[in-house]
Symmetry: D2
Subunit: 150 residues, 4 copies
């Protein structure tokens, strides 16, 4: 069975990142990303929902805010559910980040991202480094947490 799923986006946060935790205490960060189209005529922006887990999510929540430019590498995720009110089937495509690059931004020197400027965190990196007894080395997939509020 052939399967491959890779997305790379760069744009600006449409809102401050929001950090939540699953029942098991796994951090998950959500934010919106606006990606401007080049050479577009009518609609000019694409809006996406991004989520980032664990250390990667925490780093984004700690350092990024509405308007900041960011590069996101991840995979497309499809989810479907039944609408409570109408009973209709609904679905949604969003992005699960597994690597992120903080882009330089406007050099507004507000201190929160001071000194070096950029920064980068990769989810797999986070996992790879956990040799201790933290929650990171539990063998979990995002799919275990479909009950989280999104």
């Amino acid at each position: 069975m052939v399967s491959f799923n890779r997305v790379i986006l760069a744009g600006n946060l449409t809102r401050d990142p929001e950090l939540r935790f699953t029942n098991d205490g796994i951090p998950v960060c959500s934010f919106g990303l606006a990606v401007n189209r080049r050479r577009s005529k009518s609609e000019e922006v694409d809006f996406f929902d991004i989520s980032a887990w664990r250390e990667l999510g925490e780093t984004i929540a700690n350092y990024k805010k509405k308007g900041d430019p960011i590069l996101v590498e991840g995979r497309l995720q499809f989810r479907s559910w039944e609408d409570r009110e109408s009973g209709q089937k609904r679905s949604k495509v969003d992005v699960v980040a597994d690597n992120v690059q903080f882009l330089g931004g406007r050099g507004d020197g507000d201190g929160s991202n001071g000194g070096g400027g950029g920064g980068q965190r990769s989810r797999s990196g986070a996992g790879a480094r956990s040799g201790g007894g933290g929650r990171d080395d539990v063998d979990l997939n995002e799919e275990d947490f479909d009950d989280i509020p999104f």
Copy 2:
């Protein structure tokens, strides 16, 4: 303004590709793509809607059918509208292909993809090669055709 938007997916067609034409006669092909997750526990497949324009779309419509494996390179597209019945705002994320690779498939030799097997078409390639007077050298963007039925 930083902006980047690139998606690469490989999976199988969930339905036969459908070829339609805009009012101006531009061909646009639509199909569904199922991408299996690796190492998933609960949900196991992601489903996406793909569209491909002009020559690229025609080639897919001519050679591919439900179940066929394909590699799609393109960009994520966001669209929003107001639901007629409920008046609610709705939105959707799908993929506009600009390059496609026909994957070898199951070697079932049904003739529709016989002889060579593979094949590949790129939308930009199609555009670049058009030196004649066909509709391909009109300077149009997909955005001009938001009125098409999808």
Copy 3:
């Protein structure tokens, strides 16, 4: 500091994969990949050297052979050294795989890849799942093994 490095290639193995081990027993698999150009006029093929570590490398070595089609996701790696004979500076760009998709191939049913056909292994996945006491959970980077023979 902005940095991003992502490569995705699909083509055919130019030779049987070769599996070696570092002094510390880390497996590393090397193979050549031929990627045909589309719409080319003169030169028609690009040739690349790929390496894959640990479980991912072992899987490739176990299941793939010269001629097999494969999809490789990884990063570009630059290496430089001084040529022993001429004393000149030399360098090389190759690819370190961190995810691989076995493509269906020619359905020649030779048994070595029988039954299911495809298959997929990701290095990060391999690392993430290792909760035991194997060598996989040592915190190592490929950079530690620059002394390996390549």
Copy 4:
């Protein structure tokens, strides 16, 4: 025949871009790109040679200089030749850009990239737009110009 070839890199120019022209007057821009490794221990930077053709190349040559951050999307290219002195076979892997994003940089306000900051040019875009009689609508591939000095 399965074939796919996509590279996405972000880093900084290692030298001012150099603009040359083929005998037929096609502009080609060359520059070096330094991409820092994350989490590396020994070697810390990967260096690549990039080339960009036509309008895309001209834009880079006009707006970018040594040190500037840039995002490059393109394809890997393999070239081989015989070394004149030693008679040995040599080869090289570099990147042909077909899309570029100017990253914000350090906001050093030197005027050459003033006002807006960013900018983006795509080679396929350039080709697609050429409806006139310029050299852009000649049907040429980079492969025609292997004689250029690189």
